[in-house]
Symmetry: C2
Subunit: 199 residues, 2 copies
Amino acid sequence: MYEGAVQDLIDELGRLPGVGPKSAQRIAFHILDSDPADVQRLATALTEAKARVRFCEVCGNVAQSEKCQICVDPRRIDSVICVVEESKDVVAVERTREFRGRYHVLGGVINPIDGIGPNELRIRELMTRLQDDTVKEVILAMDPNVEGEATAAYLARLLGSMEIRVTRLASGLPVGGDLEFADEVTLGRAFEGRTLVGS
Amino acid sequence: MYEGAVQDLIDELGRLPGVGPKSAQRIAFHILDSDPADVQRLATALTEAKARVRFCEVCGNVAQSEKCQICVDPRRIDSVICVVEESKDVVAVERTREFRGRYHVLGGVINPIDGIGPNELRIRELMTRLQDDTVKEVILAMDPNVEGEATAAYLARLLGSMEIRVTRLASGLPVGGDLEFADEVTLGRAFEGRTLVGS
């Protein structure tokens, strides 16, 4: 539809997740209107991120050297590992400021339809980290959906034989949510996990 | 939140129109998972588009040389010019295959709030193209909103003194639309512009 370079840009942008043909066109024209320095900064950020970012050899989180910032931080508690699906989840948990332990990023969830079994995830690396007796608790913080629950169940069974406390994040009503609009599974979990007032 | 290069990429992506913080993060992680060659292609498309795309010196459409593909096409009719706001509109009109004349891209609409008056648009260039008597009709194809109508009214007045037919695109119900859900202005226009059945 457009001449060479514009159409190339629209095509490339259209391959990004969540960017449809209309957005791709809108972004492309924004680029054409932008300052060349801004465009160069974006192009550099893309190639730099790809070139420089790797994954922490301990926990699998995104990192800029062999180990990520959290793994090298001496102030973190070594006895608790929070197992999450993706690096994004590390950021989500960090934002709560509730957790001071270490992380382990699986790199996904068990999903037979997509051909992802336990061997495709960083489960072996997790087991290696649990070899010495430093870790006393593993918190399974997968997403509360079918794949997340299945992965948590698999890990719970695997860790069951070890002298480690295995916990899961609480399920229940989201804060600020509305009981009336909660789905029945969430409301059911909120009942199941109800806590004593004043305790 | 993230380490250097990842956060830089998220920040840069977040500056694009229609890309919020969540999308920026999603795209950034997609980039980290992508093939380096794909990322390089996107980065190149960005800088190439910025470096190579300019605007046609005749009509103002996006182009890769001094003139755009439409202006250099000898098969187009020289006697009709369709005036549009943006290059995107050229593509939209081309898609209809209804129009075989030339274009003129204004580069926006008159919008005093944003400080855009007639001098900020390519109106002088349009008047220059109308100097010789080649052009017999000017079709004003601005968006049917307040700014578009105001710009069209301004141009219609400017062209009124010339021996040129000035037309506007028909307003009415969108094809496939629903009379019941049409806003009253559109429905009013559809009545005003009603056509004889069988004519």
